[in-house]
Symmetry: C2
Subunit: 348 residues, 2 copies
């Protein structure tokens, strides 16, 4: 989280804007919270240039919740949805969709080296009449990011952008649905942003819980049930911070600089290894391996001694992983890169 | 929210307990948040004297979310669940359950005066083999609270205690499931507490979303998906505050004192009116009507001038409503009662 945002939240904790109330105490239907909610919607629409065709909803349940909520809202009378599997998260989404229909894997980026690339669009084998095509546009565990978005005609594209939303401009018009849990770049865990094209609001299954039915949420402006008010407030502060930084083009430039520094360090040495092909490399999550994996513990211990935390790779893939979300400053990446070089030299 | 809790949250916003991190920034699987989570579980178990037979889960989606999540988790191979309707919320729960089976209304407290009482247990017409019996133990809109809890033998009792949980001791052993959204007495909106008897974790329908399947959540100690970490932290601070106040017996005594003051004022005058029978009157939500309803606007305007806000009754019932949750001090109720008496005299 940007320190500025945390400072403002602390300052306003007992009295938001002279209201005498904490945001936590506000009625979600009161004028004060409504103004916070409206500002968050407006700023997010502005940042992502969300077209008028799309609604912005605030839900609960995070990305994993949406794995069920998406098919419950979009399958309609169809049984099939297509999945482009680029890593662990899209695989998980595919599995969950099996509860509600017979989803189909249109393409799979898994190789004997793990998930190493986004399958080329020409190689996607779409089924006849899928309800939608699902894509996880950034895979945190595998470090695979999707940059090229196809035009699928009338088939809606659904993107799980949980882990890289707001790190770069995206052409929202290309997506039927784009969603993201908040805990990476949006704010604190507990709110899910769902951006959905208005004409897709009519396809929910009868078994879709009302609290997660996009149409119901849209008709009630995210106030059908009590929304996670404080998480929306914090997201709103982050949106304002992002605008002050210069918006998503600036965040993209920073992400390119930060991630390039890391990938260049990895590629310029045979001591470190990243298996993802260049054009699919994530700017948010940089997994890497030590050529000599017996040195893993020593690497992590040395990193910890310098305050470089949370560098251990996900247990399903091993190795290391540097997550460099929007709030991570360039300086922190420089510190990591210096440490990597020193560790390599010391190991020679 | 108790002011003490808000002050502590503000103080710790940038640095929790010397960790150098905000709670918002913590990994939910890191040692710091795990300790916050464990303390919240322990304190809640202690406050409500939750027996070892029951698990405590933290979910998302609030009480309205649970309206679907309960049948999705509990219907199992049965189609029917029984509902005791005591007000607007239990009515809504009944309606949502129709998405997943053929629920049955076992008793209905509605009269031509609105919802005025909890139907006597002897008058509940349970169906043959219901999956469970649902009860909303406090109805915020109608001001009806359930104090007498039946022994239903092997049929699990499900209680929506969203709006009065932690206002008094409850014998949790009597309930199969007891749940509550956080925004009344637990903390901030965005986390739902679900207390469920362990042997009921095996009944979920195949269509239950994984992120809302109690068994999955229980097996993963509420870490299957990223939990609403900050909301759990705030709930934990409130639990500690409640223990410092002396626990739920003290909260009950305070609630009795606050609500009696209001009901006595209403009953001692023909100017004000409450239609709920005495033994079902809510200690959290006190709805009342002016005998002369043309005076409603004047009453509300005068109240606002004294800083007495949010007294307008729900639009579905009209009149007035005073919500006096745990964090509302006795002094505020005294101010309201004084105003009510003055307004009555001035109207004579």
């Amino acid at each position: 989280m940007p320190e500025e945002v945390l400072r403002q939240a602390a300052d306003e904790m007992l009295d938001w804007n002279g209201s005498g109330m904490s945001v936590m105490e506000m009625s979600h239907r009161g004028a004060e919270f409504m103004s916070i909610h409206e500002a968050a919607l407006t700023d997010l629409r502005d940042l992502l240039k969300v077209p008028a065709s799309h609604r912005i909803l605030f839900l609960q349940g995070g990305g994993i919740g949406e794995n069920a909520i998406v098919p419950l809202n979009l399958l309609g009378s169809r049984k099939t949805a297509d999945f482009v599997v680029t890593g662990s998260w899209s695989q998980k989404s595919f599995k969950e969709a099996q509860k509600y229909g017979t989803p189909h894997i249109a393409a799979n980026g898994k190789t004997d080296q793990g998930f190493t690339h986004v399958p080329k669009i020409a190689e996607w084998h779409l089924s006849d009449d899928p309800a939608y095509v699902h894509l996880c546009t950034n895979e945190t565990i595998d470090g695979v990011e999707t940059f090229e978005i196809p035009d699928l005609g009338s088939v809606p594209l659904v993107a799980d952008a949980s882990s890289h939303i707001l790190s770069r401009p995206m052409d929202i018009a290309k997506y039927g649905v784009l969603f993201g849990g908040a805990q990476k770049n949006i704010g604190m865990a507990g709110v899910t942003v769902v951006i959905v094209r208005e004409d897709l609001l009519d396809r929910a299954l009868a078994i879709c819980p009302s609290a997660f039915e996009w149409k119901t949420i849209a008709e009630n402006n995210s106030m059908y049930n009590t929304p996670p008010t404080y998480a929306i407030y914090i997201a709103g502060l982050v949106f304002k911070w992002l605008k002050k930084q210069g918006g998503l083009q600036v965040m993209e430039a920073r992400s390119i600089e930060k991630s390039s520094l890391l990938y260049d360090t990895i590629d310029s040495s045979s001591f470190y290894l990243n298996k993802v092909e260049r054009q699919s490399r994530s700017r948010m999550n940089v997994p890497f391996f030590l050529a000599d994996e017996t040195r893993n513990e020593a690497f992590l211990a040395g990193a910890k001694a310098r305050g470089l935390l949370q560098l251990k790779g996900h247990k399903s893939v091993g190795g290391m992983r540097a997550s460099i979300y929007n709030a991570v400053p360039l300086e922190a990446v420089k510190t990591l890169v210096e440490y990597m070089k020193e560790f390599e030299q010391a190991s020679a």
